[in-house]
Symmetry: C2
Subunit: 364 residues, 2 copies
């Protein structure tokens, strides 16, 4: 498997991404690396058949209008990387910085998968808990500021396919994020999406191969507290709410950790306690370290994309590349398509025209 | 000031609420207490002019349809309490359990304030940080599952008036919760609300008393991370998003604290560290204890309501009663009205008919 990687946009610079590519190559993935060759510092010992660097110094990761930039700058590193995937020189895309740029370059080059209304950003979130915790998939975390019910329906199938592939859960429990668990609760969008989902799951059960397990179990509405409660493996929401939820989780976690650190510095006694506790807390911090998950998955294009957080180190970037390779190998895109088709949830060719890519492409 | 209190619905039972009423009475507030007199166990030494108990054993706190129950059960404790406020026997309402019941009983008896589209639930949230942390006001945390832009506009004025009254902030910074800080970001609801808010603030500045300070500073869009960052004193959102955000904060905080406790039990060394750290962590836990804030404010009725969390102890209920009394004394409702009037943000009498109370009244 070959993964096309955009090395621009990372907080630690292109060399950190390149180091991640070298790590991933050590695990058997071939990397096509687009970025400023002079800054990437790839070791001379690296074989070109492991990591092939393509000089592409132009970055649009910080562009205020990524959609326009992706169109106007065919030489930009992310556009070249996306084109490599579109042309079959690579099977998956990894973008080190700028979700908006990745989404725009992906939409214009790799294109939306057949029958998909909108791509979505799906984030595996590490949730602390007994036995090393667990992972929740939350989507959409911000590819679209608006959603219709049929988008949420497709997101549910996409998220379930991702949970099967990356979390090895054979029948993931999927919930719709709402303001109450009761059936009648929720925004009109949520209520309509749940009705449609129930119908699609029935259709999938009837039309699908009887030997085939249902693609997922719909657990209905879940609440904000269920992002950490374990009530679902996949939680589906619109990109507006998902983006707020994601940043809220990051903010609350960081604020809590900071407050506890401050408490552990407040008195000599607390300082000693903090020192003794530190090794035990280290494993907890590793457990919730987002680098272990490799970042957000960009789903709904003809090929898979993975968007690590710009603040990642080489280990996170390596993880992102390995995850992208695994998703391509296991044909995540094809599996999602089959599940959507069996459920009759694909956008019909003769139906409504494809909606325009969202004007407010997201930066994270 | 007299506060009408519904003692039914609390997790610890009516006696705990009654004990809170006695505590509040000790600070000079008169309480009209509606609940099962036999279970409330008010000390014989309590003077009736401090806490007057009215026997009202019927509770609708757990009703699946609080709107219908509030209409059908005039003898229910929350309905009697709301009627006491409507008839002027008390100046504010406190409901120990069941936000939905409080909202329904309030709407049917106390009624919506003149010119207000929808009531909102505003929650003061303790945010840990240096110097004892700070308090953020988040609204609407779930009175309405849906909102229009003019609702969010009014919520901003309501939240600002609350921040002035209970947080003593003369010019609160108000933000709109969105999926990005940039002006053009956000759902159509958020974009429209911000445009309207800017117009209203201009109107308030021109039409208002020039000696009068502007009612608040609009800081524009804020993101999920800004609930803990300190970027705003008041964050405005619709009840769907606000309810999800609130439960997410509760869930993440509890999960983090549990994980840290588990870490502190994992090895003998960590246990010792946890013991030494405990006193320092205690003040942190007190800092983020929601009982200190008394619960959520029900704003937008002709009189003030406060809805403590059903899990509170007597200290939280006492705090809720004291807060309600203070809000009544400082004429929070009247101040909000003046600010909305000066900004031209009141619903016009000849305009659209009042929207029906939301069918999905919230339980918390």
């Amino acid at each position: 498997v070959v993964v096309a990687v955009d090395a621009n946009g990372a907080d630690l610079g292109p060399a950190e991404v390149a180091a991640g590519a070298v790590l991933a190559a050590g695990q058997g993935v071939r990397v096509l690396l687009f970025g400023p060759v002079e800054e990437m510092g790839i070791p001379a010992t690296t074989r070109a058949e492991d990591v092939e660097a393509v000089d592409a110094p132009l970055s649009i990761a910080k562009s205020p209008d990524p959609a326009r930039a992706a169109r106007a700058s065919p030489e930009a590193s992310i556009v070249q990387a996306a084109r490599a995937v579109a042309e079959g020189r690579a099977q998956a895309l990894v973008c080190a910085g700028g979700t908006g740029a990745a989404l725009a370059a992906g939409l214009f080059n790799i294109k939306r998968a057949r029958g998909i209304h909108r791509p979505a950003l799906a984030l595996p979130l590490p949730i602390p808990g007994p036995a090393g915790g667990r992972t929740l998939i939350l989507l959409d975390v911000g590819a679209n500021a608006q959603a219709r019910a049929e988008h949420l329906v497709q997101f549910a199938f996409m998220g379930a396919a991702l949970a099967r592939t990356v979390l090895d859960i054979s029948s993931p429990r999927v919930g719709l994020l709402s303001n109450g668990e009761e059936q009648e609760r929720g925004s009109p969008l949520v209520v309509e999406a749940r009705t449609q989902l129930e119908r699609r799951l029935e259709a999938a059960a009837q039309g699908g191969d009887p030997a085939h397990a249902p693609p997922f179990e719909l657990v209905g509405n879940v609440e904000g507290g269920d992002l950490t409660s374990g009530a679902a493996d996949v939680i589906v929401t619109d990109g507006f709410t998902g983006n707020i939820a994601l940043k809220l989780i990051e903010g609350v976690s960081q604020t809590m950790l900071r407050a506890i650190r401050d408490a552990a510095l407040s008195t000599p006694r607390a300082q000693l306690g903090g020192l003794l506790l530190r090794p035990a807390l280290r494993s907890f911090r590793e457990e919730i370290d987002p680098e272990g998950q490799g970042g957000a998955y960009l789903l709904g294009l003809r090929r898979l994309g993975v968007v690590p957080h710009g603040s990642f180190t080489r280990h996170g970037f390596a993880q992102a590349i390995l995850r992208a390779a695994r998703g391509a190998q296991e044909d995540l895109v094809g599996r999602t398509h089959v599940a959507l088709e069996q459920a009759g949830a694909l956008r019909s060719a003769g139906g409504q025209p494809p909606s325009a890519p969202d004007a407010s492409l997201q930066k994270r």
